[in-house]
């Protein structure tokens, strides 16, 4: 996975994305035990061109030049199945902007904070997202104040109450 992350770092250094961060199940590995997952979710903050029309074409071309192959909605990139996900709302954008530096082997990368992972999973709201929240609450060191601020800022407090009321 180090080679994959190195290429994502190159993508950012080349200016094709403003910033990237690992999210989803893979990001959870940095805070809790490993669980089975098929892909690495790389959230990318795109630079908005003057035309206002955003496209992933230049990014895909850059990655294909480095050996990536397209597999349905994924990229097989240096031995890892990667899903590139443009930030799609204020929450995911904030999560990428406030992601923290981590190291895998010798390669630096960036990972969403655990409080943002919880908020995004809560907003997405599938059964597997709720399972991820439960795992993180059980095993990760969570800053309660930061989590509450994020939930408040993104209007997720009611969902949080309902989640906590579930049997």
């Amino acid at each position: 996975m180090e080679a994959t992350l190195a290429i994502l770092n190159e993508l950012e250094a080349a200016g094709l994305v403003e910033r990237y961060a690992i999210g989803g199940a893979m990001a959870g590995f940095f805070y809790a035990e490993a669980v089975v997952t098929e892909d690495l979710d790389a959230f990318v903050l795109l630079k908005t061109p003057a035309s206002g029309v955003i496209t992933l074409t230049a990014i895909y071309d850059f990655l294909k030049q480095r050996g990536a192959t397209v597999e349905r909605e994924h990229l097989w990139l240096a031995g890892t199945l990667v899903q590139l996900i443009p930030t799609f709302d204020a929450l995911t954008e904030e999560a990428v902007r406030e992601a923290v530096d981590q190291t895998v082997g010798q390669v630096k990368t960036r990972v969403m904070r655990v409080e943002h992972l919880i908020a995004i999973a809560l907003k997405t709201g599938r059964a597997k997202d709720h399972a991820r929240i439960a795992l993180l609450l059980d095993e990760a060191a969570i800053e309660g104040g930061r989590l509450q601020e994020i939930l408040h800022r993104h209007g997720l407090q009611d969902r949080w109450k309902k989640f906590n009321l579930k049997p």
């Binding site: 996975m1 180090e2 080679a3 590995f29 940095f30 805070y31 809790a32 035990e33 490993a34 669980v35 089975v36 997952t37 098929e38 597999e71 097989w76 031995g79 890892t80 199945l81 981590q102 895998v104 082997g105 059980d138 095993e139 990760a140």
Partner: protein, 61 residues
Amino acid sequence: MNASSPATIAGEIFQGKARSRKAAAALPIEEKLRRLVEMQRRANQIRRGVARPLMRVWELA
């Protein structure tokens, strides 16, 4: 072995599992990635058995 109630035995088992999960959570990321690849391989063994599409197994350097 000392005599215990089933509830006590089960409680000890669950405490052991919880300790195990905490230990797994504290492993270095590189070890977690090795475990992931092993889980992907095992998941595919099951998927083959039930004719579900296989997942791509990551290639760790």
